[in-house]
């Protein structure tokens, strides 16, 4: 083999290689297989619970299985490289298909073959010929009436040398563009999702009543600063008599340069948006601000009392011991499983010996007595600070997602319900002096429906007299 030959072979090999890949990407089998593979992967993603802690997985699966699954990324499947690769392949597949079909679709929208000649007749099924004993002009008028219902709009008329007249009707030409609408819309949605995950953030923030924040921690565990402050004026939770929640609402203010620029009461399903950042009502709670604790002797006489701010060790007046309030629970679970009501967790630091952690229950003042010791503690007063829990979302890609969704719905509806229909009719006077009408038509989709429409038109034409 000469060098030139080798070079030539290499070239055609290269070309083969490219066209093979192109063939693969535009293959319609690939679409179906890809859609079914994606379904199977998604099923796996719902059967194996995602993003749980490793401990939980160890409870469900053998240790070997956990190792294998976690190496394969099956516990965080939607972010695994192979899942993203599948989606990318789908996107590539759609792009390639769209490019591949572009010319064909554009060509399909062009007006050509305006005349029902022999060549066209061969490609159509059910060409029908009807003969009338009426003058051509009368037949023409009646014909236009008959077709007017299905094909409103004027036909294109061509007269040929042999004296025949040819009519070309069409409808729903632009429905061919539905293909682009449906498939490109999916790419637009992908684009929106990607933009959101790269340029947006989600996070949570708790704001105490009367307080304001200007930063929050995102889910990616970064601190995000805001160009403004969000203040929670008040928070309210309402409940039905059954105890089920009825309404959660926070009165929020947006403060910029010390001035309130926006105020809104948000609820679940009614968030507030400012400068592209949206705040959603998502949870609520309360933390103690101050707690007053009494020190009681075993005989019931009060030895002393202290008002402790949260998370600060302070001396109990007149005693060498220190206390610190550290935690709060709205519904403390008693050892027997019942609800003990509000409870404060306190660390007691005696002058000698080890610190002790204990729970003080508001509804059970003597709960701490059971601990033993010279004295016990009880809560005499508790001041709570309510907070509202907000979900924060900044998603610059969202608008693309909704745009894509609307295009997708419109595209699917047009694609499934409309079609590009063409109808040809030609009129001429035959050898015997009769008027002869030839009719034929096609549709690019929903052919059965179109066949029925054609039958109807032909039936009407046959009844013309």
């Amino acid at each position: 083999m000469s060098d030139a030959e080798r070079l030539k072979n290499a070239k055609t090999d290269g070309k083969d290689w490219v066209s093979k890949i192109w063939g693969f990407l535009t293959s319609l089998k690939l679409v179906i297989i890809l859609l079914l593979i994606l379904s199977a992967l998604l099923i796996a993603g719902t059967v194996i619970e995602q993003n749980k802690s490793l401990q939980e997985y160890y409870r469900f699966y053998q240790p070997g299985t956990v190792d294998l699954f976690s190496k394969l990324g099956l516990f965080d499947m939607y972010h695994s490289w192979w899942f993203v690769a599948c989606l990318s392949l789908l996107a590539l597949n759609i792009t390639a298909c769209t490019m591949d079909r572009y010319r064909g679709i554009m060509a399909g929208m062009q007006k050509k073959d305006l005349i029902l000649d022999e060549k066209l007749s061969k490609s159509l099924q059910n060409i029908t010929t009807i003969r009338y004993a009426l003058p051509l002009d009368v037949v023409e008028n009646k014909m236009l009436e008959c077709t007017g219902n299905g094909f409103s709009g004027k036909p294109l008329v061509t007269a040929t040398e042999d004296g025949s007249r040819h009519y070309f009707f069409e409808k729903g030409k632009y429905s061919r563009l539905a293909f682009f609408m449906t498939h490109l819309s999916i790419l637009i949605i992908f684009l929106g999702a990607i933009a959101g995950s790269f340029f947006g953030y989600k996070g949570n923030v708790n704001i105490f009543e009367g307080e304001a924040v200007s930063q929050l921690e995102t889910r990616a565990e970064k601190i995000q600063h805001l160009n403004f402050q969000v203040r929670c004026n008040t928070f309210h939770a309402e409940f039905y008599p059954s105890g089920a929640p009825m309404d959660y609402r926070s009165d929020l203010s947006i403060v910029q340069n010390g001035k309130e620029v926006l105020r809104k009461t948000i609820r679940v399903n009614d968030p507030l948006t400012f400068e592209g950042v949206t705040f959603y009502q998502s949870s609520y709670g309360a933390l103690p601000e101050k707690v007053s604790i009494e020190v009681v002797n075993r005989d019931g006489s009060v030895k002393g009392s202290v008002t402790a701010p949260f998370n600060r060790r302070i001396y109990i007046p007149g005693m060498p011991d220190k206390v610190e309030a550290v935690d709060y629970q709205e519904h403390f679970q008693l050892p027997d499983g019942t609800d003990g009501g509000q409870a404060i967790s306190v660390n007691l630091y005696p002058a000698k010996g080890n610190p002790v952690g204990l729970w003080l229950l508001l509804n059970h003042p003597k709960y701490d007595k059971e601990r033993g010791g010279d004295y016990y503690l009880r809560v005499s007063d508790l001041k709570l600070k309510k907070y509202t829990g907000l979900q924060v979302n900044n998603d610059p890609g969202e608008i693309l997602v909704w745009l894509g969704s609307i295009l997708l719905i419109a595209g699917i509806m047009i694609a499934l319900f409309l079609s590009h229909k063409k109808l040809w009719i030609s009129l001429r006077t035959d050898k015997e002096g009769k008027s002869e009408l030839n009719i034929g038509g096609t549709a690019n989709k929903n052919r059965d429906t179109f066949a029925r429409e054609m039958e109807h038109i032909i039936q009407n034409l046959k009844e013309v007299s």
């Binding site: 319609l28 089998k29 679409v31 179906i32 859609l35 079914l36 994606l38 379904s39 998604l42 099923i43 993603g45 719902t46 059967v47 619970e49 995602q50 939607y78 999702a193 989600k202 039905y240 059954s242 089920a244 929640p245 009825m246 309404d247 959660y248 609820r267 679940v268 399903n269 009614d270 968030p271 949206t278 959603y280 009502q281 998502s282 979900q391 924060v392 979302n393 969202e398 997602v401 909704w402 969704s405 997708l408 719905i409 699917i412 509806m413 499934l416 319900f417 989709k445 059965d448």
Partner: protein, 282 residues
């Protein structure tokens, strides 16, 4: 309450409709056929009244909400939707013999619904949303269309099986059914109705989630399963439109699609866990 009573009578109507449709298939008397359609229609009218009544009663109780927010309500709405879609198709395609295969669905769904608590509970905050209502309505029209397609696809297999081994003279039981190609066509048409509606259902659901929780897609099992269903029917449409899959292969995909639909609707709540389990939102 009046609504429960009406739902009860509607359930009986669906039951009788089922029985009469089956007798019609067996005896093929025109009078029986008419009676079957009328009984089914009666069931639909009664159930429409029941749903309206339930809505009205919720206002009387001072709760005031659309009857579309718990399992019971979704089941009865599903039954209603199947009956409506079927009756429309029956009129349009003259396929009364198919009734015997579709009529059991409304009855069974209503019967299953009656096993679930049906008191009108007030809504938790997350469910107070008009987006939720459009989400539920479009999803269930989609599901109902898929259910009809499923019934027709099953029937398709019976019919093909009969056509293959049939040497008997015409007039047997199976000859009363529409031809296999007509069944194939109806199976497709119903999916063509269901697919856009499922798409609308998924999009409105995403929109609702975004308004309620600030995330339009969080891969929770219910969402993921609705996507699975959507992908299966997308595969069906592509197979049919671009590769000319008809008949058996199309019918198989339709059956698989409906199995996935049912899993998305009930299986996810009963078997998998997620945000969506009815009534525990927020």
């Amino acid at each position: 309450m009046t609504n429960s009573l009406l739902f009860g009578i509607a359930t009986f109507s669906y039951f009788f409709a089922m029985v009469i449709y089956v007798s019609y298939l067996a005896f093929r008397s025109e009078a029986l056929g008419k009676a079957a359609s009328l009984t089914m229609l009666g069931g639909v009218v009664l159930e429409t009244a029941a749903i309206g009544m339930r809505w009205y009663e919720s206002y009387q109780m001072g709760i005031g909400r659309a009857p579309l927010t718990n399992l019971y309500e979704s089941l009865v709405f599903f039954a209603w939707m199947i009956a409506v879609i079927y009756l429309v198709l029956e009129r349009k395609f003259k396929i009364r013999t198919v009734g015997a295969f579709v009529a059991p669905f409304p009855f069974l769904l209503m019967a299953y619904a009656s096993l679930n608590p049906n008191d009108i509970q007030p809504l938790v905050p997350a469910l107070k949303s008009n987006w939720l209502i459009s989400h539920v309505v479009s999803c269930f029209i989609g599901y109902a269309a898929f259910a009809v397609s499923f019934g027709v696809s099953i029937l398709y297999f019976f019919k093909v099986w009969h056509e293959m081994r049939s040497t008997k003279p015409a007039g047997s039981f199976w000859d009363a059914l529409p031809s296999s190609s007509a069944l194939d066509e109806i199976g497709y048409k119903t999916i063509a109705i269901g697919f856009p509606l499922l798409t609308i259902g998924i999009v409105t659901g995403a929109f609702w989630a975004n308004v309620a929780w600030g995330a339009y897609w969080s891969w929770d099992p219910k969402e993921t399963w609705s996507l699975i269903v959507w992908l299966i029917y997308a595969a069906y449409l592509h197979a049919r439109i671009t590769r000319g899959w008809r008949g058996k292969r199309a019918a198989v995909l339709s059956i698989v699609g409906f199995a996935a639909t049912m899993f998305c609707y009930l299986g996810v709540n009963l078997i998998l866990s997620g945000l969506h389990s009815y009534g525990s939102a927020f």
